[in-house]
Symmetry: C2
Subunit: 397 residues, 2 copies
């Protein structure tokens, strides 16, 4: 009795597979600083909880397969700030950005089709693509080049008759790259020329620093039939456990077909949608406050990283992740060693080895992804642990 090839070929999540080492360290009484996962410590706005608590229907019924009309209205209003103009019938509510992406991939790709994605990329993209037979084809970007996109000609070479679309992430996880208007338009123009889709994962839209402008793929007027926005409240409102996302597109055929998938799974949880309606009504001061907090954490992280010899890092312009090159040969070995064999004043640190974020074999082997979602003091302590850990590791290895 064999399981399917597609599931056996799936890797365990490279972010989560090291969790047992962290659990053991905690069981041994050590404090573990989690720089490995994008779980913010910022409080979920109380408006969310209030809306959930005020829900007073006696029967918790199925909601609409397409999502709560009030939530869709809230999202449409919110999008206008970014010059993203959508109507009610252009938006479907999903179980997190995860389901938005899975459904979009199924809608545009058959088994064996390909999606072009700048690498390094969010490892779970593979987790959605592999079970439905889709191949992620990397557009390689490098820390040396600040993870900017290659030229249009370079990218064009990667497009085959199996290529059904691009999957872009801006601001990007794990690189923090924020694509410029020129880059966004270049990808859109390629999509138009080749008659393929652009899926744009913009769940970190608010987290842009240094006066950089965020330019949504949803703004490119002439590409509106090609662009699909993947979105989520998880990071924006520090509500990862709510699992509310959405997909938005002006392509009516695309939306009508994704709706069939939405109907199969009936609906998204009712209570979380009630909460999300209020979140999307928060005014600019909320975003400003959170952005400032992450900006400060980013600055602290890089101030501390620069104190460490041999570390190569560049402050990213967006999101709350960064790829850092360490003075080690095998970052995964180092990460495991930190958790299993090292502590500094009974503290250690957990990071995500970056190799799992690359599709091209061999890339990222000496890199880690860090998430700066913990508070300033913890961040400072965590990077001190990293510094002493690197010294000790390189002394004994």
């Amino acid at each position: 009795m064999e399981l399917s090839k597609r599931i056996r070929n799936m890797q365990e999540s490279p972010i989560r597979k090291l969790v047992p080492y962290a659990e053991n360290a905690k069981a041994a009484g050590r404090k573990v600083y989690h720089l490995n996962i994008g779980q913010p410590d910022i409080e979920t706005p109380v408006e969310f909880y209030n809306a959930v608590k005020n829900y007073d229907e006696k029967v918790l019924k199925y909601s609409f397969s397409e999502g709560s009309p009030q939530l869709i209205s809230s999202i449409i209003e919110y999008y206008k700030k970014y010059e993203m103009f959508y109507n009610k019938e252009d938006v479907l509510i999903t179980n997190g950005g995860s389901e938005a992406l899975l459904f979009s991939l199924i809608a545009i790709c058959d088994d064996g089709d390909e999606i072009l994605v700048p690498e390094p990329f969010y490892t779970n993209y593979n987790g959605f693509a592999l079970p439905v037979g889709i191949k992620m084809v990397p557009i390689t970007t490098t820390p040396e080049n600040d993870f900017r996109l290659p030229s249009k000609e370079e990218i064009e070479k990667l497009i085959t008759d199996k290529t059904k679309g691009f999957l872009m992430s801006t601001p990007g996880n794990p690189t923090g790259v924020v694509y410029t208007k020129d880059e966004v338009e270049m990808i859109c123009n390629l999509a138009i020329e080749k008659d393929i889709f652009v899926l744009s994962d913009e769940v970190y839209r608010e987290f842009v620093y240094d006066g950089e402008e965020f330019y949504s793929f949803g703004r490119v007027e002439h590409a509106r039939q090609h662009v699909v926005i993947i979105d989520s409240i998880s990071k924006r409102f520090s509500a990862c456990g709510a699992r509310i996302g959405c997909v938005a597109s002006k392509n009516k055929e695309f939306i009508a077909n994704v709706l069939k998938l939405c109907q199969s799974r009936l609906c998204v949880p009712t209570l979380e949608q009630e909460g999300a309606i209020e979140l999307y009504k928060l005014d600019e001061s909320y975003y400003e406050k959170v952005r400032k907090e992450y900006n400060k954490r980013r600055d602290v992280l890089f101030e501390k990283l620069r104190e460490i010899d041999g570390v190569i890092c560049h402050p990213p312009k967006g999101a709350f992740y960064t790829i850092v090159t360490l003075p080690v040969e095998d970052a995964e070995d180092f990460v495991i060693w930190l958790l299993r064999d090292f502590h500094y004043n009974n503290k250690t640190v957990m990071m995500a080895p970056a190799e799992g974020f690359y599709a091209t074999p061999g890339l990222g082997k000496n890199q880690v992804r860090l998430a700066y979602v913990i508070n300033e003091e913890d961040l400072r302590n965590a990077i001190d642990v990293l510094k002493y850990g690197l010294e000790e590791y390189n002394r004994i290895k």
Copy 2:
């Protein structure tokens, strides 16, 4: 720019595609009795809402990919009543029974593989199978034979080298059939002989009438490596909008691989899991009360249906659905006519044409599925409308 073949080949949900006709009837001021959808009007136990309201973490974090440990413990305790013995590591929490089934199908089938399923079957089974390239192969059962399974020899003939498992529903949607111990063991023995899986959708486990015994596939000791239980709180606790389900199996390789899919989508909503923990702690009196209520509704429904000439119906032993044969040629035409062209004292009724529940072309054309989830008075009125509607329809057609 074409969408994928797999999504274009998906039908719109046969249950939901008639919704616009119902909306129009309501817009014209008519009362529509919904016998078409399994949305119970029974109140969600207040214990659910209290648990949600008492949640007091400031940050709504990701929960574990495998689900809340407390919820898993609650479910394991509950299963013991049915002589289903599972440990913590055998259960994964999912986004409703829907995700439990989708993930299980992906784990056992590759593109082009087949699943044997007694027809008529829940139409959404196709909604999960088609997008991932899986073919539902029907084991035909008939109202004349009370939807009992054919002989082992008959079923065996349907098994090919593409067949990866059975998908059983007991008590069944849409037939209300409750499989006997002999039927359950026969399917399990076939699964063992052919080395394939049995996925058993048991979300209506509590709703069994006339002293019939529910016998879970999870009870068959010698088939434990083959059996996967698909479950959900939606119907059991009248909490359809919570979207909490689970998958349970003693097959460790199966669970380990489904966990990879769970990790891809990160987690299930936190708040609903808090509520569900309390639901699974409710004592037997809750189930007894709800079972009595549905039993009464079933009896009322059949008392009224028997008043109508030419209607063929048999009270089912379980769930809260029944397949009824009507004295019409084309049940879908009749259902649309009721919504669009007919009313009795400004009331009409919505039913689900049964053809969409069959995979074999032509079957079920003169049948409808009725859900007895509305209260007694509404049920009586609804069947009166159906009676007068049938008379008028057959007079003018």
